[in-house]
Symmetry: C2
């Protein structure tokens, strides 16, 4: 059987399952999620055993211990994954919410209500817990999930999907609403990316190259997520103690994530007072600073910054640093090199804060707070499917409502158009 046929063998039933799932009330979906959570715990031993095959193959392939840790499941991690599913069940159901409603002059009642997207494709790397997290968020929002994880986790993802499908068979949610895209080749992803009409939205989760290739090749609408070159701008009117705290937190509290700071911009008016302290604090945390000439004038430890440094999403203990003549120059730097994820300003000036918010075009702007707060949990959404860095449909952390579309329902008593 061809890979295209393999793909259609899961995508067709997913589409049918989506139509069955869409009108289900919250109680039916929550019961299904609890059944999934229970089944994951009940089958933990088998899941761990299958996962060990992926881990062994990864070791044979010389994959780094860091990646192996991300790939590995044990009973404790499976219990945590099951708990996350129960937490999704406890969140409000976005489906059916009336977004707007009015009565038109001709007496027609107009309501715009939230409805599921239909079939959501998720393309992701590494960690098998995403298989369950993404499936749970899709089910809760009334969507069928077509999952395509990394080939390194294929056996683990297969058993997780099988356990979830078996659990769904005892519920009102059709088992076909959760499907793993068969195959591990590059070609098998392409069928998903070209499945316009079968798949309603694709959400790639992973590094910049994965996301770029999905955007380039997909005919299915894509929500770009997760690439972050975030800047901290220290304004002329900044509280410098606060600026040090925010800078160190944004850079070092968890350097491997998309909302960590990768760039420091300092107003020239506070460079003399701030940079010596900041460079010392960064060095104490083991951070390598890649600075322009003015930054380098404050310390011999600073490496020369290139254009690539300004553009870099390091995800490591590195930061690009530059002195700017004005807030507008900082905004220009961000416009030129940034990824539109999160930028922070540290300032006591109301005028500066307003201008930064108005002119910097990113998904999130932090005024006197760490970039690390751009996160669905921190924003109070309960869970997130990713952080959108595009402007269409969803921008910033995406919770359950961002996995829905809307539909207009117009009710009359025979109105026709004149």
């Amino acid at each position: 059987m061809s890979e295209r046929e393999d793909f259609l063998r899961v995508a067709g039933p997913a589409r049918e399952a989506a139509a069955e799932l869409a009108p289900l009330p919250r109680a039916a979906k929550d019961a299904a999620l609890h059944a999934v959570a229970d089944a994951l715990v009940a089958n933990a031993a088998e899941i761990v055993k299958v996962n060990a095959q992926d881990v062994a193959r990864a070791r044979d392939n010389g994959i780094s211990e860091y990646m192996i840790d991300r790939l590995s499941l044990d009973e404790g991690r499976i219990a945590a994954i099951a708990d996350a599913v129960r937490q999704v069940a406890a969140l409000p159901d976005p489906v059916g919410e009336t977004v707007r409603g009015t009565v038109l002059p001709n007496g027609l009642e107009l309501r715009q209500i939230r409805v599921p997207m239909g079939v959501v494709g998720i393309i992701y790397e590494g960690r098998p817990n995403v298989t369950v997290d993404a499936a749970a968020l899709c089910l809760k929002s009334g969507n069928a999930a077509l999952l395509r994880g990394s080939s390194s986790a294929y056996e683990s993802n297969s058993v997780l999907v099988r356990v979830m499908q078996d659990a769904l068979r005892g519920t009102d949610v059709p088992a076909n609403a959760v499907q793993l895209v068969p195959g591990t080749s590059r070609e098998s992803v392409k069928h998903l990316m070209r499945a316009r009409g079968l798949v309603d939205v694709l959400i790639p989760r992973g590094g910049a190259s994965l996301i770029n290739s999905v955007v380039e090749e997909s005919t299915v609408p894509v929500i770009e997520t997760g690439v972050g070159n975030c800047a901290v701008y220290v304004d002329a009117d900044a509280d410098l103690d606060m600026a040090i705290d925010i800078l160190i937190n944004a850079k070092t509290q968890r350097p491997s994530v998309c909302n960590a700071a990768e760039t420091l911009l300092v107003h020239e008016g506070v460079a003399d007072a701030f940079l010596p302290r900041a460079l010392e604090a960064l060095r104490a945390e083991g951070v390598t600073v890649h600075g322009d000439e003015r930054v380098r004038s404050y310390s011999g430890d600073v490496v020369e910054a290139t254009e690539d440094d300004y553009r870099a999403e390091y995800l490591s203990l590195d930061i690009a640093a530059r002195v700017v003549d004005s807030l507008d120059e900082a905004a220009r730097h961000i416009r030129t090199y940034g990824s539109g994820h999160t930028e922070a300003i540290v300032t006591n000036s109301q005028r500066a804060a307003r201008r930064f918010v108005a002119t910097v075009d990113s998904a999130a702007i932090m005024v006197n707070a760490s970039t690390r707060f751009t996160d669905g949990e921190e924003f109070g959404f309960g869970a997130e499917i990713g952080i959108s860095t595009q402007k269409l449909h969803a921008r910033g952390p995406m919770g359950l409502p961002e996995l829905t579309s809307t539909k207009y329902v117009v009710t009359g008593d025979g109105q026709i158009r004149a």
Copy 2:
């Protein structure tokens, strides 16, 4: 100079203009729109003269009188276009609206506010009034507009854009915020479609083949608009007089538009009572019915329907017709053949109405009303840039809010993440 360079010569300045335009308050944008409207009227004679060149060329090329009428401008039409710009100025400004706002447990103030998209690309056919309408809606929502009309209207569009740019030079809105994509070749559209990072969203307006090619080839996020294969379903519990009125209105009031009905589905329980009357009424309006065997049993005038008829967006006095055994079969027909635009049910049954709304997955569902009401003006939005038939970002008629994105603004006093 290459076409790619020509494109960048307008796209780069549009991007800069978008950054200047985004923070402008409503008064500045409204003043600019009034200046544009005044300039159109003041330059009407010149615009008509240039338009006559396009019309003459179209005649030489043997283009139909219908298309020539769509292409033609006179002083009356220009006055109407200017009035439409003034109406856009009178609409509320969506930019700056707080979509949600809360205070997080750690004291951070979280606000999600509407912001412009940035640069909006519009690809359209035929009528030069779209050049001005689209530019006005983009400016009002704080976006720069990159316009790409049909080659047949190139001279008309050029003079309209030049008049608008000249008018903007006397206002706070940068003249580069409205740009015509240079060139008339197929290649010149491709530069716009591949301008990811320079253009934030593309809205194709036109027929199915235009929209398909944009979706297939674009790396810029696309909002699909305007293809409509709309169905009227006459339920077992329908008021048959109402059903006739709605059917005739939906099919014949303006057959050439996307919200006209193209399909009639009749529950077998009312087929005997309804179809003879309906077929007679359709014939009286000059409509050709393409029916299945059961429909054909009621009249010798009915042509045999093929699968292509069920899929057709006729945009003419034709309709596909079928008898179905149940509401669920009607929903299945719509799922198989429909375009997800608008479907109507005629019924007195509350249960049937609820089930149709819940199971039919279209941008708009009409209960006892004509499909012709799916329209930005009719919905009270004041103006529309198009009718989205996709599920991402916007679905159904798109007004000014649908031309915006959002941004999170998080304000603190030094919060860092633990």
